[in-house]
Amino acid sequence: MIPSTDYIRLLPELILIVFGLLVMLIEPLLGEHNNRKGLGAIALMGAVLSILASFYQTGYEGAAFFDMIHVDTFSIFFHVLIGLIAAVVILASFEYLNLQQIRYGEYYGLILLSSVGMMLMSSAVELVLIFIALEISSIGTYILAGFRRNAPISIESSMKYFLLGSFATAFFLYGVALMFGATGSTSVYTIATTLAQGATPLAYVGIALMFVGLGFKVASAPFHIWTPDVYEGAPAPVVAFMSTGPKAAAFAVLLRVLFATEAPGWFWLIWASAVLSMTLGNIGALVQNNVKRLLAYSSIAQAGYILVAFAAAKDIGISAVIFYAAAYAAMNVGAFAVASHLANVGEKYVTLDDYAGLGRRAPGLAAVLTIFMLSLIGIPVTGGFLAKFYVFQAAMQSHLTGLVIIGVINSAVAAYYYLRVIVYMYMREPQRDVPVLKMPFALGVSLAACLAATIYLGVLPGRILDYAMASARVLVR
């Protein structure tokens, strides 16, 4: 019936599902007050194995399960990326959960299972599957956002995320319906062949509506406004997860839907969304005092930079998106991991004032955060610099001078608020006594991983870029 290679093409997801179920099964056996590090270790093992499985897939590219998924360099790249994000976030959560008295092993299970959704998003070529995968990742993150059960803001962020998320999903669905109406199919490649014969107004509107759903996930303006609230309220490691994983996956879907279907009429939508995201994100962040909120606005702006690459010419633009997604994941997960450690019990210390004088109280942590901030600004020899560099060069090469000018000015403005974090850490006296906990080993490992990735992408990006280019070629064919 179904050839066994099909299962290999689904292997990373299967591994994650098995380990996710394992975590859920063991969870009830643990006592109420035991810590959940063991479960974390199991989850970590699952994530690592699924990364290995993704690498293993290189020999087995092709379609599987009646053309539901397509394993190609593109999907493998995102599988590895999402697996890495999940692994690093799990590592960063070990101590965090203990500290915040969160004793639900489901946390790890949900991270693994929503990663399944994200991975499927990157390999699915059928809108049905994309939709279900999107929902798995969304529902997982809705719950994760509310995991600090005794903090009202956490539940609130969960509720806001949930309501607006399902609202956006409804629009996405309506878009899919219109696309189906325009082409009579929900398969990306069939849609492409139908659209090639001429597009109808239905298709245009369908694309616009689908962009709403995906734009919501990537936090691009004007569908970004949930971001600051949700990021502020959700537990910091969860924010690290949901500001990168679903974003990368949604960008993957967006790439597939926009480029593989050669859908018409989205250029100016993306253009406008990119400009709005960059500008609103950066202006919003200028006066933020809450670090999580500041990073939330920053992630809106970063989504804007990625959208600039969408507007650029095909293969270059796509590879720039892919590279940026990787660099962004490295630096953003790192930044939020640091924030999660500094936040301490009950996430009490999350304002810039609490970061004052960190340069002396915790020099190592401050140095690491500084590097992530520099990367977010786009200072050379960090991944953030090269990512921006590629994006803007790609846009320049596609005659998007206006977009490049706006982007470059925006990134100059953005330096101000990232720098504020550094200024507070090194050049301000602490206002009150803020305890900094000893760095736990697991978090250290995860920070080191993010740091290494950030620097690696900034110094030796050649291989990743080649890979991104190969993936882009798969997509545009």
Binding site: P152, E156, L173, F180, G181
Partner: protein, 100 residues
């Protein structure tokens, strides 16, 4: 025989009703019902298009939308209960510790 566009128009109006409900109601549960209304409007479109294209995949999609709706309902109602426990209110305007 009723033309297919009639169904689509009905679906659009129902969808707009759902949007309106989401935007203006003051009770989280009703807001959530509005989302269900929107999903149903989409389903109607799907079924209409499916019979226009004679493609059953549209009907299959509807089936999956219902699965998703069920899942969302379970999670959403649980979140609503959690919110109600901490705030003793169903009015989303009163749930705004997070802002600025």
């Amino acid at each position: 025989m009723v033309p297919i566009s009639y169904y689509l128009v009905l679906s659009a109006i129902l969808f707009a009703c759902g949007v309106l409900g989401f935007l203006i109601k003051r009770n989280v549960i009703t807001i959530f019902m509005s989302i269900e209304l929107m999903l149903n409007a989409v389903n109607l479109s799907f079924v209409a298009f499916a019979s226009y294209w004679q493609a059953l995949s549209g009907q299959v999609f509807v089936f999956f939308v219902m699965v998703v709706a069920a899942a969302e309902a379970a999670v959403g109602l649980a979140i609503i209960i959690a919110v109600f426990r901490t705030r003793q209110t169903l009015n989303p305007d009163r749930v705004n510790l997070l802002k600025l």
